[in-house]
C-alpha cells in the first residue's frame, strides 16, 4: 500500500472541521515551526525535501522560496494559487473541499518561513462553495489561536484571506494572478522583475500551488530527508493525480511518485482500467497543455522501458515521444474518442482563455480553433495539417506567458502522433462526421514518430 501524506486522514468523519483535524495530529507542523525552528530552518527542510511545484511547472519550491528578496521596510507576501483551471485537473478542489485545514496549516508554516504577515489564497470564483469552506476553516483556526496576533506566543503575526477570482484560466499564471488580486484584468506581466522581487503591490511575493503548500505540512512533520526518500530521483514525495475520462474509477489519487503508468491506469487501487470494456487510445498525462500520447507511448518509452509516473520518465523522449507530468491532470481516451474533435475542443478553450495581450497567442489560438473546426466538420484540406503545425510553431515561445505554448503543444502533438486521423478527416469527410477513426492501427506500436 502506497503511503498517503496529504490524504492520510481523508476518510475520517468530520476531518473538514478544526476539531477532528487537530485530533488527527493537525497543526503539529505549526507548533514545531513556530516553537522550535527559525524561518530559515523551515526553508531548509523544504529544500531538503526536493518538493517541486505541484501546479504544473515542477520548479523546486525551496529554491523558489530562497529567491525571495528581503528589502528593509517592505512587507513580503505569500499568495496561494487556488485558481485550478487546467482542463483535467481537479485535485485542489478535492483537497480544499474535504481537508481544508491542511491548506490553512501549510499557509501558516509557509508564511512563517517567508516572513509574510498577510497572505492570500486566490481561489477561482466558480469555487464559491470551497471559498465558504476555507473561510470557515480560517475562522476556526483563528479562534484556536493559530492565526492572528502572536500565534502560540511566538511573536509571529499572520492574517489570512481568501480572494475569489472572476473566471479566467489565465489567472493561474502567477503574474496574471497577482494582477487579478490587485483588482485588474488578468494580463500576465513581463518578467523580470520576478514576483520574488516585485510581486503583489510591488512587494516581494511567492506564489505557490495549493498542493505544494499543503505538502509543507508532512515535510515539516516527517522532516525533509524522510519526504525525499519517497519517489525516484528528482521526483520526490507524493503527488495528487486527477484521473478523468473513459476509466472505471475517475477521481483524485495520491500516488508515490514512481508508480508505473500501466499500474496507475489498470490497477483497482487507482483508475481500475478503461470503462465499458473498451481499449485505451490515448492519454493526456498532465493537464490539457501537455502533449497527448498514443496508448503505446504512454505505457512504454520509445526505448521500450516501462513509463513511470515521475517528472523525468513522463518526459523521456522529449516531445518527439514523451510528454510531461504537469499538474497531474490525467485524461484517458478510449477507442471511441475522436482526436481531431478533442484537439479542436482544447484549441477553442485556449482561444477563449487567451488574455489577448500578445498577438501570436490572441490571433494564433483563433486560427487553430477555426482550422480545426473546419477539419472536424468535413471542410478541411490536406494543407490545413501543415498550416496547423505552422501556426502552433509561430505561437510557441513568442508570448509573454506560457499560455501560448500550452495552446500550441496539444495541437502539435496530436498531429505528431495521429496525423493519419487528421488526414482521414480530410479524405473521408462524410465518414468522419458519422463515426470515429477508431484505434485499429494502435493494436500495433506506431512507426517511430517523426519530430514535428
Amino acid at each position: 500500500m502506497a503511503r498517503k501524506l496529504l490524504l492520510e486522514h481523508i476518510n475520517v468523519p468530520g476531518i473538514n472541521t478544526f476539531e477532528v483535524y487537530r485530533q488527527q495530529g493537525g497543526y503539529r507542523a505549526v507548533e514545531k515551526a513556530l516553537k522550535t525552528m527559525s524561518p530559515e530552518d523551515v526553508v531548509e527542510e523544504v529544500k531538503k525535501s526536493g518538493l517541486r511545484g505541484r501546479g504544473g511547472a515542477g520548479f523546486p519550491t525551496g529554491m523558489k522560496w530562497s529567491f525571495l528578496a528581503k528589502p528593509e521596510g517592505k512587507p513580503r507576501y505569500l499568495v496561494c494559487n487556488a485558481d485550478e483551471s487546467e482542463p483535467g485537473t481537479f485535485k485542489d478542489r478535492f483537497l480544499m473541499t474535504h481537508i481544508p485545514h491542511i491548506l490553512i496549516e501549510g499557509m501558516i508554516v509557509s508564511s512563517f518561513a517567508l516572513g509574510a504577515n498577510t497572505s492570500y489564497i486566490y481561489v477561482r470564483g466558480e469555487m464559491m462553495p470551497q471559498i465558504r469552506i476555507l473561510e470557515k476553516a480560517i475562522a476556526e483556526a483563528k479562534n484556536a489561536g493559530f492565526l492572528g496576533k502572536n500565534i502560540l506566543g511566538s511573536g509571529y503575526d499572520l492574517e489570512l484571506y481568501v480572494q475569489p477570482g472572476g473566471g479566467a484560466y489565465i489567472c493561474g499564471e502567477e503574474t496574471a494572478l497577482l494582477e487579478s488580486l490587485e483588482g485588474k484584468r488578468g494580463n500576465p506581466r513581463i518578467k523580470p522583475p520576478f514576483p520574488a522581487v516585485s510581486g503583489l503591490y510591488n512587494c516581494p511575493t511567492v506564489v505557490n500551488n495549493v498542493e505544494s503548500i499543503a505538502a509543507t505540512v508532512p515535510i515539516l512533520n516527517e522532516g525533509g530527508d524522510e519526504y525525499a526518500k519517497i519517489g525516484i530521483g528528482r521526483s520526490t514525495g507524493t503527488k495528487l493525480i486527477s484521473a478523468s475520462g473513459n476509466i472505471n474509477k475517475p477521481g483524485v489519487y495520491e500516488i508515490e511518485l514512481g508508480v508505473p503508468v500501466e499500474e496507475f491506469i489498470y490497477s483497482d487501487e487507482y483508475c481500475g482500467g478503461i470503462a465499458n470494456g473498451k481499449r485505451m487510445k490515448a492519454v493526456v498525462a498532465g493537464g490539457s497543455s501537455v502533449p497527448i500520447l498514443p496508448a503505446n507511448l504512454i505505457l512504454k518509452t520509445i526505448n521500450g522501458e516501462s513509463r513511470l509516473m515521475t517528472y523525468e520518465s513522463l518526459a523521456d523522449g522529449g516531445f518527439a515521444s514523451g510528454t510531461m507530468l504537469g499538474s497531474g491532470g490525467f485524461i484517458v481516451f478510449d477507442e471511441d474518442q475522436c482526436i481531431v474533435r478533442n484537439t479542436w475542443n482544447f484549441a477553442r478553450f485556449y482561444h477563449h482563455e487567451s488574455c489577448g495581450q500578445c498577438s501570436p497567442c490572441r490571433e494564433g489560438t483563433g486560427w487553430l480553433e477555426k482550422v480545426l473546426h473546419r477539419m472536424e466538420y468535413g471542410h478541411g484540406k490536406l494543407s490545413d495539417i501543415d498550416l496547423l503545425v505552422n501556426v502552433s510553431k509561430n505561437i510557441e515561445g513568442n508570448t509573454i506567458c506560457p499560455l501560448g505554448d500550452a495552446a500550441a503543444w496539444p495541437v502539435a502533438s496530436a498531429i505528431r502522433h495521429f496525423r493519419d486521423e487528421f488526414e482521414w478527416h480530410v479524405n473521408e469527410p462524410k465518414q468522419a462526421m458519422e463515426r470515429n477513426f477508431g484505434l485499429a492501427h494502435y493494436a500495433d506500436p506506431l512507426p517511430k514518430p517523426e519530430t514535428v
Binding site: G88, R93, M128, S242, N345
Partner: protein, 180 residues
C-alpha cells in the same frame, strides 16, 4: 461588449455596504482596488447581473474611474453583463467533460428549456450556457448555478429533468414561504 443600458438608479443597501467595507479591510491602505472582483460578485448576487449603472456605483465606492471597473467586468467570464434567467445553468464544455457526454447534456438542455445558449426562457426562470473547464473533470458532466455556484455532478438527462423540476417547484413555493 458592454452591457445593455440599465437606467434605473442603483443604490446599495447599508447591509451590502457593510460587506464591501469588510472586504476592503483585507488589503493594505490605498489598495482598495483589490476589492473589485469580490465586490462585483456581491453586486451580481444582489441584482442577478452587473449593469453599467451598478458598475458606476462600484467605481464611485472604490474611488476608481468607471473604465477600471468596466475593463475588469468584461474581462472575466463570471460577470453577467445583461439580465439573465433567475437560474443560469452553466455547463462545462471542455474536453474531459465532453469525453463523458457534456455535449449531449447541452443539447438536451437546449431542447428541454426550448431556448438557445444565452437566451432566457419565457417565464424568466432559466438560461444556460457552456463554460470552460470547471475543475471537476472526474465528476463530469457537471453544471453550476450561481450566485452560490451550487454544483451538480455526473449529469444524466434524468438528473437534468429532476433539477429543473425542483427549481420550478422552489420558485413556485417562494410566495408561500414569504407569507409564513
Amino acid at each position: 461588449m458592454l452591457s445593455v443600458n440599465h437606467t434605473e438608479e442603483v443604490i446599495f443597501s447599508p447591509e451590502l455596504i457593510t460587506k464591501f467595507n469588510e472586504i476592503v479591510s483585507r488589503y493594505p491602505e490605498g489598495r482598495q482596488k483589490s476589492a473589485l472582483l469580490p465586490i462585483l460578485h456581491l453586486v451580481q448576487a444582489e441584482y442577478g447581473w452587473v449593469s453599467t449603472a451598478a458598475m458606476d456605483k462600484v467605481a464611485e465606492y472604490l474611488h476608481l474611474q468607471p473604465i477600471e471597473v468596466y475593463e475588469v467586468a468584461t474581462f472575466y467570464t463570471m460577470y453577467l453583463l445583461r439580465p439573465s434567467g433567475k437560474y443560469v445553468l452553466e455547463v462545462c464544455r471542455t474536453g474531459p467533460c465532453c469525453l463523458v457526454g457534456a455535449e449531449k447534456i447541452m443539447k438536451y438542455l437546449e431542447e428541454k428549456l426550448g431556448v438557445k445558449e444565452g437566451e432566457v426562457t419565457e417565464d424568466g426562470l432559466f438560461s444556460w450556457r457552456g463554460v470552460e473547464c470547471l475543475a471537476a473533470c472526474g465528476m463530469g458532466p457537471v453544471l453550476q448555478i450561481g450566485p452560490e455556484y451550487t454544483f451538480y455532478e455526473n449529469l444524466t438527462e434524468g438528473k437534468i429533468d429532476e433539477l429543473i423540476d425542483s427549481l420550478k417547484l422552489k420558485t413556485a413555493a417562494k410566495p408561500a414561504d414569504e407569507i409564513s
